[in-house]
């Protein structure tokens, strides 16, 4: 356990990135993990004509990308016993097979409330290998001290 005090945290601090290259196997495994069996993620034949995203191929689950982004925060917060209180996400581009998704997070806000209720906001973004934005997320993390 590496404890982190609210006082020691500085806005602008960049958290270590989470990087994953995804393919159809990734989408299938994520479908099994989440019980989201929507064919847009899982059925390469159906999506050729149905094309919900206007492209004839499967795309990753938004919740998969959101999970990747959230892992940037949990990698930092969970070992330190900090509590995630709120997550807001927005998806800007569907994630395609063979893309490499890089998720980065920065501590953007520090809220001084009172002991046990102080919290920070972490801005996380996910980009593909061409630096195109695929998703954004804001996570509130509460400090127990």
């Amino acid at each position: 356990m590496e404890m982190i005090s609210f006082e020691s945290v500085k806005t602008g601090t960049v958290l270590p990135p989470v990087v994953h290259t995804v393919n159809q196997e990734t989408f299938w495994k994520n479908a099994v993990a989440s019980f989201d069996y929507n064919p847009v993620h899982n059925d390469p034949e159906w999506v050729k004509t149905a094309m919900p995203f206007k492209i004839p191929k499967t795309v990753g689950h938004g919740m998969m990308t959101m999970s990747f982004m959230t892992s940037v925060v949990t990698n930092w917060a969970v070992p330190a016993m900090l509590r995630i209180r709120k997550i807001t996400s927005k998806f800007t581009k569907p994630v395609e097979q063979e893309w490499t998704i890089t998720c980065t997070g920065v501590i953007s806000e520090k809220h001084y409330i009172t002991t046990g209720k102080n919290f920070v906001v972490i801005d996380v973004k996910a980009e593909n290998q061409n630096k195109e934005l695929v998703a954004l997320e804001q996570v509130e993390v509460v400090f127990p001290d």
Partner: protein, 199 residues
């Protein structure tokens, strides 16, 4: 919950089945899809909460597989022995494990089944957490319509979903949002493999 008619890619999905629930949950989102709730038919005059179709009793394998499924190797989430020895005293759920619970609990025939709609798109989500989910808890959900709106030619539907444990302690709350086919005919088009969105 399982259906006999399986999509052709089921066998690919089945390679990843690891938990008891994986074998119980149907991979076929086309089943009952003609009867899923539809954007233009949702009754917003009745905002009363209703119960989800199923309850979810959390096992360690559910938590560890969710982390694996989103490629997270955090030992607090994937290594039960390690987690037990930590200050948490047990596995820590990945925050997005709420997704698994919601899909399980919503079911196929009750309110909220529109989250399974073939062709639906995810624009972003909102989740609040009050307590970590723990192994052994049995989670049930209560849900109600929250908002329905049109924006840039897309049709958004939102439900508020509250997740409670067996003691009715509120563990988490989400506002689930999807961009949906607007009409039942649009859904039917998607079921036939034809694009059923106007934008």
């Amino acid at each position: 919950m399982k259906e006999n008619k399986l999509p052709t890619y089921h066998h690919e999905l089945a390679k990843y089945f690891k938990t008891e629930k994986h074998h119980q949950f149907s991979t076929n989102f086309f089943t009952h899809a003609e009867n899923y709730e539809v954007w233009d038919e949702i009754d917003f005059s009745n905002l009363e909460e209703v119960d989800g179709e199923n309850t979810f009793t959390i096992k360690a394998e559910d938590l560890t597989f969710y982390a694996e499924g989103c490629l997270d190797d955090n030992p607090y989430m994937t290594n039960e022995e390690f987690a037990k020895k930590s200050s948490y005293g047990g596995l820590v759920p990945h925050p997005l494990f709420t997704t698994t619970i919601c899909f399980w609990c919503v079911g196929t025939k009750g309110k909220g089944n529109w989250i399974r709609t073939p062709g639906a798109r995810n624009p972003g989500q909102y989740i609040e957490y009050y307590e970590d989910f723990k192994v052994g808890e049995t989670i049930h959900i209560k849900l109600r319509p929250y908002d329905r709106y049109e924006k840039r030619g897309k049709y958004y539907l939102q439900y508020k979903i509250n997740l409670y444990n067996q003691d009715n302690v509120l563990k988490a709350s989400t506002i689930s949002t999807l961009i949906l086919p607007r009409t039942r005919d649009d859904i039917r088009r998607f079921l036939e493999g034809i694009r059923g969105l106007q934008d």
